[in-house]
């Protein structure tokens, strides 16, 4: 049996691509290594009665046209935008209302423009695909200035209030390993780690609705099957080999894996063109995310000076640019900084079903956590030490949290790598740097989704669309693949 397209990875990108291709009448199969589809968009019970999404709470926004085209709302994926985000210090709080902050609006607009531009490269410009606005015609990409500035410079020029600078900085660098003073750091604001808001019912709902969309359209989703090799003959891909030795024949392949996995583990090094192998080899990852899931007996007490809607949105703990710099220095040295950049979300405030009544679920996203510590790997003791350090930081601004902790799960970069198969546990598929973003992602003469190997299409976080919008890179790859099939380029 020969498929028109085989998609590696059943995350949001893979499922969206499958739904899109199956709808246009193609025979599609999605191969997922894990027992369940979803990738990072899953929700599980981490303590009896308590549910949380282990790897992230928010995603980059789904372009609205994709959202409506796939009819995700009707399938149950309802995004609840965070109404507010707060920076909390022991003595004061700074609150920013979503949509009110010009920089956020600007960054969302720029990200959308970047996506539109990328789409314009692959779709005829008279048929705009995302955001009906036609792509801007100026030659200089509007975000170019962001690529040549540091995050601190950009924020200092735009915001007068130093607390607001600290808050936006913390939001842009949430869960990342980056220095606010280094040039190119402003791109983090463009490719913000969140922005979609929470999904009612957890990210699993998004996966379920994408899965329903794909299956209704007729795509096959096969879980528990790991792809080990891409088979190719005369420079053209013929199919896939699975871990159990079975082979699947397909006319084209979409990979939603990160760049290093896609090229360096699915191909033998010697089979790849030398330039491709060396580019993929020198692509830089910047893993730095740790996640702590807490089951709490009850919501902590709100500090008297804090806003009433504090728990409804992300809370950045005591952000400070010097501290972010120090945390980055520690990350480079393979240690865990004394003061960590922490973002808290009380997901149970949105998602009341995720825990027993009265109790609360709190997730902490921590940046600048090294993949490997200078003194060896992450042991049980080191995880416990991290938990204590994080709790101490939280306790400092939200007294009484530690006493309410019923259970805690610690997830560090190696866990993410193992669970999701992303190289180094980098959730964003490669360092966000000026030579690895926009027209340069994954690299300058490889414009995703077409890979420099015939019949292979790239989606996922190592592409520009992959870090700017959820599902967007999968849809891009699907559209290009379908167009190539129709044009007879894959005969």
């Amino acid at each position: 049996m020969r498929y028109d397209a085989a998609i590696i990875g059943a995350g949001a990108d893979g499922l969206a691509a499958a739904a899109m291709l199956a709808r246009s009448g193609l025979k599609v199969v999605v191969l997922e290594r894990n027992e369940k589809p979803g990738g990072r968009c899953i929700t599980r019970e981490f303590h009896p009665g308590f549910h949380a999404s282990p790897f992230c709470d928010e995603l980059p926004p789904i372009p609205s046209e994709i959202f409506w085209a796939l009819d995700l709302a009707r399938q149950g994926a309802v995004f609840v935008p965070s109404p507010v985000s707060t920076a909390l210090w022991p003595d004061r709080a700074k609150r920013i209302v979503a949509g009110e902050e010009r920089l956020y609006a600007q960054s969302t607009m720029l990200a959308a423009t970047a996506l539109t531009r990328a789409a314009a490269d692959i779709a005829p410009p008279e048929k705009p695909f995302f955001w009906r606005r036609p792509p801007p015609t100026s030659d200089v990409w509007p975000g170019e200035a962001w690529a040549t500035r540091s995050l601190r410079d950009l924020l200092a020029a735009e915001l007068a209030d130093s607390d607001a600078v600290a808050l936006v900085m913390a939001a842009a660098l949430e869960g990342r390993a980056a220095h606010p003073d280094l040039v190119g750091g402003a791109l983090h604001l463009l490719a913000r780690p969140g922005g979609s808001g929470l999904v009612a019912g957890g990210l699993q709902r998004l996966t379920d609705s994408l899965l329903a969309a794909a299956q209704t359209a007729g795509a096959e989703i096969l879980c528990g099957l790991e792809v080990t090799d891409i088979r190719h003959r005369n420079g053209k891909i013929t199919g896939l080999r699975l871990a159990d030795g079975a082979e699947i024949s397909a006319r084209a392949i979409i990979s939603t894996l990160d760049l290093k996995r896609a090229f360096l583990s699915l191909f033998a090094w010697s089979d790849l063109p030398r330039a491709v192998a060396s580019r993929a080899g020198s692509f830089r990852m910047a893993a730095g995310t740790a996640r702590l899931l807490f089951a709490l007996d009850s919501l902590p007490d709100r500090p008297a000076f804090a806003n009433a809607d504090l728990f409804a949105g992300p809370i950045h703990i005591g952000p400070d640019s010097a501290q972010l710099g120090a945390a980055y220095a520690a990350w480079r040295a393979g240690t865990v900084a004394a003061q960590l950049p922490i973002t808290l979300r009380f997901t149970s405030a949105i998602d009341t079903q995720s825990c027993p009544p009265g109790a609360a679920v709190m997730t902490a996203t921590i940046g600048c956590i090294p993949l490997r510590l200078f003194d060896g790997s992450w042991t049980h003791e080191k995880r416990a030490a991290l938990r204590e350090k994080v709790l101490a930081c939280i306790e400092h601004v939200l007294p009484g949290v530690a006493a309410r902790v019923r259970a805690c799960e610690v997830i560090v970069p190696p866990d993410i790598e193992e669970a999701l198969g992303c190289t180094d546990g980098d959730l964003w598929g490669g360092e966000i740097a000026s030579d690895q973003m926009l027209g340069f992602r994954p690299w300058f003469d490889c414009v995703a989704p077409r890979a420099p190997v015939g019949r292979l299409y790239l989606a996922g976080p190592s592409t520009t669309a992959g870090v700017l919008g959820t599902c967007a890179s999968g849809i891009f790859a699907a559209r290009v693949l379908a167009a190539d099939l129709r044009a007879g380029r894959l005969k």
Partner: protein
């Protein structure tokens, strides 16, 4: 031309750039006044008495960016400028004795790299070719007043390299940490971090320079840096310039949107329709109202947190590097590990000295014995990533820095501290903010021109990367002369 102007042009600042600019203007028949605030010319390249018979510049001791056209057009060779060490090999010193020596000869270099990595030794010639080719393609932009960016394949390479930190770029070529750490030193120029875009471009910029006909060479002038100052001074004098010391320009006299002259601190006013400034912070000479708010913002660039600091050691005897055969007339880099750059930088941003610092040094007296009494030597070191605003203050930092530098060199050259007769720490240059990629990619004309008609920059800050070059002076003088015609 009205008789109202006492001069045709005024040059502020009598360092090498200012002198070169004055000489060019004088050669073109202009009546030129050069104002130097100190009582002698040359700034950091002037002769200085370090005591005990040592006479060397309080500043850099090597030249790598001096424009060969400035040398020939101003007849500097005839006026005494000769190069002693014509090309200093770059040596990465290592505690284990496996030093990396980077010379012009690719084969020799490769064999010294092969000790660390065979693969890197094979890659080296390719890297060097690519670096030098791209550097040559960049010369029109960096050397001429209205040069273009390269096109075609070189443009693609440039696009990529301009966005990369030097560390990432070198990582994509080499595996040996020793080699990368040695090469990184030159990339961290101008307050850039080796992690930041621009630092890879700084390496290309270095490779685009030419000294005594050799691309990318580093040389020591015979008789010290003062010889360069003397030659330029002679050129300016013979071109009929009026050179005055002890005259500090206080502010610029503006007439509408044009520059009209310079107000001297002593109360005197000098008038000229053209003013060239070699001083670092030009904005300090301008009345605030002369700059629009937007322009003020661009002028007030991000304050630099990092500084490069010079350290001069006078030695009673030549140092020896633990019996390992290293020719001493080299340029040495002390940075065995790459993480030194990151950690020193991060510490400096917090106002502290890093535990280990990237240091480079030369011993100019080995190639030119006239700088020191017989048998004695000068060791001139450059330390990167020193905090510009130390939390403990400069006095404490200087002491600390001296100890660290001596300790770091002594680890490889045992007995050094016994030979030291004097240590001098030079204060860092004025803060101009770190260089940026857009600045490095603008044409010469845009770098020297200002918003005010008749006013030009001609100093190190108008170069793509600050250095003793004379190129900005040459461009500024040419534009000023052409504009007046």
């Amino acid at each position: 031309m009205s008789a109202y102007h006492a001069y045709d042009a005024i040059v502020i600042g009598g360092d090498t750039s200012g002198l070169a600019a004055a000489a060019y203007l004088g050669k073109a028949g202009k009546r030129v006044l050069l104002l130097e605030a100190q009582d002698k010319f040359g700034g950091r390249c002037g002769a200085a008495n370090l005591g005990d018979g040592f006479s060397a510049a309080r500043g850099a001791h090597t030249l790598y960016a001096l424009d060969p056209r400035v040398v020939s057009e101003l007849k500097l060779a005839r006026r005494g400028l000769r190069f002693e060490g014509r090309e200093l090999a770059l040596t990465g010193l290592r505690g284990d004795g496996k030093h990396i020596v980077i010379r012009r000869d690719a084969h020799d270099t490769a064999s010294s790299i092969a000790v660390h990595s065979q693969r890197d030794a094979e890659t080296w010639p390719r890297f060097r070719t690519e670096l030098f080719d791209l550097a040559r393609a960049m010369r029109p932009l960096w050397w001429e007043s209205r040069g273009d960016l390269p096109s075609g394949a070189e443009k693609q390479k440039l696009d990529r390299i301009a966005r990369m930190g030097a560390l990432a770029w070198l990582d994509s070529w080499f595996e040996s940490e020793a080699l990368k750490a040695t090469l990184c030193f030159d990339a961290a120029d101008g307050g850039l971090s080796v992690l930041e875009p621009g630092s890879a471009l700084a390496l290309v910029w270095r490779a685009a320079q030419e000294i005594s006909g050799l691309q990318g060479a580093v040389a020591i002038p015979q008789g010290g840096m003062a010889v360069l100052t003397d030659a330029l001074l002679l050129a300016a004098k013979e071109a009929g310039c009026e050179l005055r010391t002890g005259m500090r320009g206080e502010s610029l006299i503006l007439d509408g949107g044009r520059v009209a002259g310079v107000q001297i601190q002593s109360g005197e006013a000098c008038f000229a329709p053209i003013v060239l400034s070699a001083v670092r912070r030009l904005s300090t000479l301008l009345p605030p109202a002369a700059l629009g708010i937007a322009h003020q913002r661009t002028m007030a660039r991000r304050a630099s947190l990092l500084a490069d600091v010079g350290v001069l050691l006078t030695l009673r005897s030549a140092p020896s590097f633990g019996g390992v055969a290293v020719p001493l007339a080299n340029r040495f880099v002390l940075a065995e590990k790459l993480e030194i750059y990151g950690s020193a930088e991060m510490a400096a941003r917090e106002g502290r000295l890093g535990d280990e610092l990237p240091i480079s040094f030369v011993i100019p007296t080995l190639s030119d014995s006239s700088l020191a009494p017989p048998g004695q030597h000068i060791l001139s070191a450059l330390v990167r990533s020193v905090p510009r605003h130390p939390v403990e203050g400069w006095a404490v930092l200087k002491k600390d820095l001296a100890t660290r530098v001596v300790a770091a060199i002594e680890r490889l050259a045992p007995g050094l501290s016994r030979a030291i007769s004097n240590i001098e720490i030079l204060s860092p240059d004025n803060d101009e903010g770190p260089i940026t990629v857009p600045h490095m990619l603008t044409s010469g004309a845009e770098r020297v021109e200002t918003r005010i008609a008749g006013l030009f920059r001609c100093g190190a800050n108008a170069e793509p990367v600050p250095a003793i070059s004379g190129r900005a002076a040459r461009i500024a003088a040419a534009i000023a002369i052409a504009g007046q015609r």
